[in-house]
């Protein structure tokens, strides 16, 4: 066994232990430990990615060296390793972009608690990505929920408490359903490791036994994870949670937490139930319909919103809808498009949150649109970054959002029944996206009239004044352009990774 194969396990353990360690450190040191941990894990994951692409096949790491049906396993393929690298990068940039906000919005004595939450969140995300065991996945789903709740309520005001409790309620409903689905699957197949369950499910599918319990288990797990990742009708907690928490939390929650659940769901589809069987079931049609509804309704809600951060939050609902719509198409290429959209949305949404916080800084902390007039001139980099993010969300060529929309529509064209609704929904949603994002971009580049309250409170912010945010914004823009301009290798990697899932 090569030494590199230990890295996935080490990165999970490293982030897990750095959490409790942060509790005895001061806020400043906790921040340093956190940054170091994210960077180290990112580098280790990159090594793993290089290793897996080199050998061209996945490897399985037995925890405690107990063999398959008894022990717990970590399974690493190309897609898992790539996701780990990508999540680390986004997390690092999101943390970098919100340094100043964290210092002002979080009480002095609670600074280090924030980093405990972030470390545990990273640990649970990595575990969700790598694990090959369904019950381990459930436990880490709960850890993920608890730490995400901590990230929401660390900025203490009434809104965040309410958002946190709503988030907890919805998440617990989701994880209850997920747990019940896992219990059903266990009682039918007698295994908890994904690969073993898959063998049993294939046998059962061949013999036609237990068809309904399997379908129920699949439905429970899909709905549970869909609720947790804020698919349209279950999104009520989302705008408050993203809109009022501190900016790093909002960026991490929108771009990583919900994506971890979606990645787990894709893993369940491929590695537990088997994708053909998922496609034959009716479950994907349900996901498809709710995805389409989310694409439209999320955008409609975003248009009505007058608060820039809540608007971005509602836009997340629409983008999650895209991802589920892609899964609901029920084809390999649809899933590739969904995974690509996971990446593109993660890169763009965190960019938008960080840029929006830069714009509100330049407008005296105001978040309403009328107060943001001319903010693009007062904070030039944030203005440019917001424009890039908006164009990417609308789906202009060169930016990452374009590629995912292209992939979605390419896939939909070949589809029998779902072609027309998909294309119509894509078109309508793009127009709606354009309405609210372009409205905001025009607003921030409108010259501010001299005598409004906003222009009196607003001030010019140079790039050097907020070094963390500037670096994060520039990196986000580059990441976005990279995803948009050189998508071919990434799509290829996703395809390879999905093939390794079998």
């Amino acid at each position: 066994m090569d030494f590199v194969q230990n890295f996935p396990f080490m990165s999970i353990i490293l982030s897990l232990f750095s959490g409790p360690l942060s509790s005895i450190l001061s806020g400043k040191w906790a921040k340093r430990v956190n940054t170091a941990v994210i960077v180290i894990i990112g580098i280790m994951s990159a090594c793993v990615l290089g290793y897996v692409t080199g050998t061209g096949e996945e490897f399985i790491y037995c925890m405690g060296h107990f063999p398959a049906p008894w022990g717990n396993e970590i399974r690493v393929g190309e897609l898992e390793a790539f996701m780990a690298v990508f999540f680390c990068a986004i997390m690092l940039l999101s943390m970098l972009g919100g340094i100043k906000e964290r210092l002002t919005q979080i009480e002095e004595s609670k600074q280090n608690l924030y980093y405990i939450m972030v470390n545990l969140l990273l640990c649970s995300l990595l575990a969700l990505i790598y694990t090959n065991d369904l019950f381990t996945a459930y436990v880490f789903v709960e850890i993920n929920t608890i730490s995400a709740c901590g990230l929401i309520m660390i900025r203490q005001n009434g809104r965040t408490f309410e958002a946190a409790i709503r988030y907890m309620i919805m998440s617990l409903l989701g994880s209850g359903l997920l747990l019940l689905g896992i219990c059903f699957l266990y009682s039918v197949t007698g295994h908890l490791l994904m690969s073993n369950i898959r063998q049993q499910v294939q046998l059962l599918a061949a013999s036609g036994e237990y068809h309904i319990p399997l379908l129920v288990a699949l439905g429970l797990m899909s709905v549970g994870l869909a609720i947790k990742s804020a698919l349209y009708p279950f999104h009520s907690w989302l705008p408050d949670a993203y809109g009022y928490s501190t900016v790093s939390s909002a960026a991490i929650l929108s771009s990583l937490v919900s994506k971890g659940y979606i990645f787990l769901l894709i893993k369940i589809f491929y590695r537990v139930i088997g994708f053909e069987m998922v496609c034959d079931s009716k479950v994907i049609h349900v996901l498809y319909v709710f995805g389409i509804m989310g694409m439209i309704m999320g955008s409609v809600n975003a248009i009505q919103e007058n608060n820039i951060r809540r608007m971005i939050a509602f836009s997340s609902v629409a983008q999650i809808g895209y991802i589920y719509m892609g899964l609901g198409l029920g084809t390999e290429a649809g899933v590739v498009a969904s995974v690509y959209h996971v990446l593109s949305h993660a890169a763009t949404k965190s960019l938008l949150f960080v840029a929006a916080s830069g714009l509100t800084d330049a407008s005296g902390g105001k978040v309403r649109f009328e107060d943001l007039r001319g903010a693009g001139y007062r904070h030039r980099l944030a203005g440019i970054a917001f424009t890039v993010g908006s164009l990417s969300m609308v789906g202009l060529p060169m930016f990452s959002g374009f590629i995912s929309k292209l992939l979605f529509s390419q896939e939909a064209v070949g589809h029998n029944h779902k072609m027309l609704p998909t294309l119509i929904a894509l078109a309508v949603s793009t127009v709606l996206n354009a309405v609210y994002f372009m409205k905001t971009v025009i607003m921030i580049y409108m010259p501010a009239s001299k005598d409004t309250e906003a222009s009196r409170q607003g001030r010019n912010i140079a790039m050097a004044e907020q070094p963390g945010k500037s670096v994060a914004l520039i990196c986000f823009i580059i990441l976005n352009l990279m995803l948009g301009l050189s998508s071919e290798p990434i799509i290829h990697l996703i395809q390879n990774g999905l093939e390794m899932f079998y």
């Binding site: 436990v139 809104r159 309410e162 709503r166 907890m168 617990l172 409903l173 019940l180 219990c183 266990y186």
Partner: protein
């Protein structure tokens, strides 16, 4: 309709009904404490279901006594282990929910989530 299967597995049916009760309580109750009670009913119902799946009639708990090592003597220990893990998880989320409820109650002097939302909207922040 064949009811014998239902009669043979009536405890599983009870577990599912309890799960439904807990789920609807957690989703629909306005009072936060009742929501948390619902959460606990829901989790406990899942554990009941899991424990049932591991139980085999006429066998003992999987603790080796008197040197009997035959597999036929003991029940399946894995679901019991899962139940224990699940209990730990549900204790921690219950604690978190209760602490959040205390925070909200101290601030708004009510346990009604809808009322808290209206109060927040009046605050206008």
């Amino acid at each position: 309709m064949n009811l014998t299967n239902l009669m043979n597995n009536y405890v599983e049916a009870v577990a599912m009904i309890l799960f439904g009760i807990g789920f609807t309580n957690l989703l629909l109750q306005k009072n936060l404490i009742k929501k948390i009670v619902g959460l606990n009913i829901m989790d406990t119902a899942t554990y009941l279901f899991l424990a049932l799946k591991g139980y085999i009639d006429g066998r003992k708990a999987p603790v080796v006594v008197d040197g009997v090592q035959s597999v036929e003597t003991y029940i399946n220990p894995i679901p019991s282990g899962l139940v224990l893990t699940g209990i730990v998880v549900s204790v921690s989320v219950t604690a978190l929910m209760l602490s959040l409820t205390i925070r909200l109650y101290r601030r708004y002097h009510t346990l009604d989530l809808d009322e808290i939302s209206t109060l927040l909207r009046k605050e206008g922040k």
